[in-house]
């Protein structure tokens, strides 16, 4: 990408183009139960990145031969709307979407108790309606909440965020410009309660020492997102009194 010479992603005081500090997340908005027909759904907004996730299941497997005798299968589709990006994305799945569907599925499979629902499928659909960096991580954050709303047992929620390097500075939660013109982009997803990584990818160059610090940054962001996820769930269900149940 040819970068405009005058474009500075971060200034001497460590302020980024959108005014954030290096370790600051974009404003995060979470809503649970936004799509009525699904068994569980969530909407996540991280700055200008906007993502829906919906879960169906556990339900019968189609086609049947895919069913597993000892556990549920997890289907996952990560998809970007054609109008979510600057230049219209052609319809159909790109290679990028195929890869991301796989790593997101694997991240969720790490925490869902699939063995509770043999011979069924749990389907997770992620739709990115506007992309401004960090869509796979916002998608995962939303998907784990949709699973929770669907009542599917999990070892932990999954919270995710990207860290990266721009003009020599480590930064948390890259926006699109920072991702495009930066030196490194590392999406991280964790099951915070288990202190474990469930998704990890890296594109770019990070010195060994930077990697350690980048992971610390990611953890800080993930802790904040995890808090917000739990708050959102609590808010959603705090209105339910014992009498109603």
């Amino acid at each position: 990408m040819v970068k405009d010479e005058k474009l500075k992603l971060i200034n001497e005081e460590g302020t980024r183009i959108d005014g954030r500090r290096p370790d600051e997340l974009r404003p995060l908005k979470i809503e649970i139960g936004v799509l009525d027909k699904s068994d569980g759904s969530a909407y996540v907004e991280l700055g200008k990145t906007k993502v829906f996730a919906a879960v169906f299941g556990p339900r019968e497997v189609h086609p049947k031969h895919l069913a597993l005798p000892d556990r549920a299968i997890l289907n996952c589709r990560y998809h970007m709307a054609s109008f979510s990006v600057d230049e219209r994305k052609p319809l159909g799945m790109t290679r990028r979407e195929i890869e991301l569907s796989k790593v997101i599925r694997e991240a969720l499979e790490s925490v869902v108790f699939l063995e509770e629902f043999p011979r069924t499928s749990i389907d997770v659909y992620i739709e990115v309606i506007q992309a401004d960096g960090g869509t796979r991580t916002a998608g995962l954050t939303a998907a784990s909440l949709a699973l929770a709303e669907a009542g599917i047992p999990m070892a932990d929620l999954v919270a995710a965020v990207a860290v990266g390097k721009i003009e020599g500075h480590l930064v948390l939660d890259l926006c699109d410009l920072e991702d495009k013109y930066g030196e490194a982009d590392m999406p991280v997803a964790m099951a915070p309660r288990l202190n474990s990584i469930v998704l990890l990818q890296l594109n770019g160059r990070l010195a060994k020492e930077d990697f350690r610090r980048a992971l610390e940054f990611a953890k800080k962001g993930i802790t904040e997102i995890y808090q917000k996820q739990r708050e959102a769930l609590r808010k959603k269900y705090s209105g339910v009194s014992l009498m109603e149940v």
Binding site: L68, N75, C76, I98, V103, S110, S196, L202, F211, R212
Partner: protein
């Protein structure tokens, strides 16, 4: 749509127990230590019709890579650069678990992980692949074929791609009166970096590198780490379901740095090149 893969059979669980017990003693099924890689072998120039080709093996896993150069238009946002694309196929002759047809998600993931290492290390000087700014440039089609699959096709794929690139002879073209024609001469790519990857498998609190097939089916989780010659981490892909304890990562980065160095040394010896 990404669908869960068939998970561990009962036999795999028994094998896992066996591998884990060996790992605790610092041993493995085939006599390697946990951080030993299988022997690496590289043959280049096997396919004369390709502009560059290489067959690399790591133990029983064999990867064939061929490169074809074509002339096309540069991307509009990079008018002064040529380009390359990596494609990968898990051939049905390589394993009973691979089926004919267009690349599935495993093939797509392999191609994108190899692409990531090549791209992020900037090992190909793309500006040298430009013929006429904004109009004509070389496009390299790098095609990876898994020929024989005995576990870990990632590391030997990167080796084969780099070997094919390093030994490629690209036909020179020139533009005469708006027409693109071959000059009859050739040029080399002169790689600027040699990025390699190390694949890790984790069983409980132990890890190993370069899993062979039997080990691969018994792993809890696996991850690929790519590093360049300056010890920068340039690509990472966790490529299976499962939890990676956070405190394990740093240790794996250190081992990856050592193993990528080792692979680089073997690569340079085999091809008689220096970096």
């Amino acid at each position: 749509m990404s669908i869960s893969q068939m998970k561990k059979s009962l036999t795999a669980k028994i094998v896992q127990e066996k591998i884990y017990n060996l790992l605790k003693q610092g041993k493995r099924l085939d006599g390697r230590s946990p951080t030993d890689m299988r022997p690496i072998n590289i043959v280049t120039g096997l396919v004369e019709k390709a502009d560059g080709s290489a067959l690399a093996s790591m133990g029983g896993t064999k990867i064939l890579v061929g490169i074809k150069a074509e002339i096309g238009s540069p991307y509009s946002d990079r008018p002064r650069e040529g380009s390359f694309t990596v494609n990968a196929e898990l051939l049905p002759l390589a394993s009973i678990s691979f089926e004919p047809g267009p690349p599935d998600e495993r093939g797509v993931e392999l191609a994108r992980v190899v692409d990531r290492s090549i791209r992020e290390s900037k090992c190909i000087d793309l500006e040298k692949l430009c013929l006429v700014e904004g109009e004509k440039a070389y496009i390299l089609f790098v095609d990876v074929y898994v020929l024989d699959y005995d576990g870990n096709y990632y590391d030997p794929s990167t080796i084969a791609v780099l070997a094919a690139l390093a030994t490629a002879r690209i036909p020179k073209y020139e533009v005469l009166d708006g027409k693109v024609e071959k000059t009859g001469e050739y040029f080399n790519l002169q790689l600027q970096s040699l990025p390699f990857t190390t694949t890790f498998g984790i069983i409980k609190e132990k890890f190993l590198v370069d899993p062979q097939l039997e080990e691969e089916s018994a792993l809890d989780v696996s991850i690929i780490i790519g590093m360049d010659e300056k010890d920068n981490v340039i690509s990472i892909q966790k490529n299976s379901p499962g939890l990676i304890p956070e405190n394990m990562l740093e240790q794996m980065i250190d081992v990856a740095s050592e193993k990528c160095k080792y692979t680089r040394q073997k690569f340079c010896e085999a091809l008689n090149v220096k970096i």
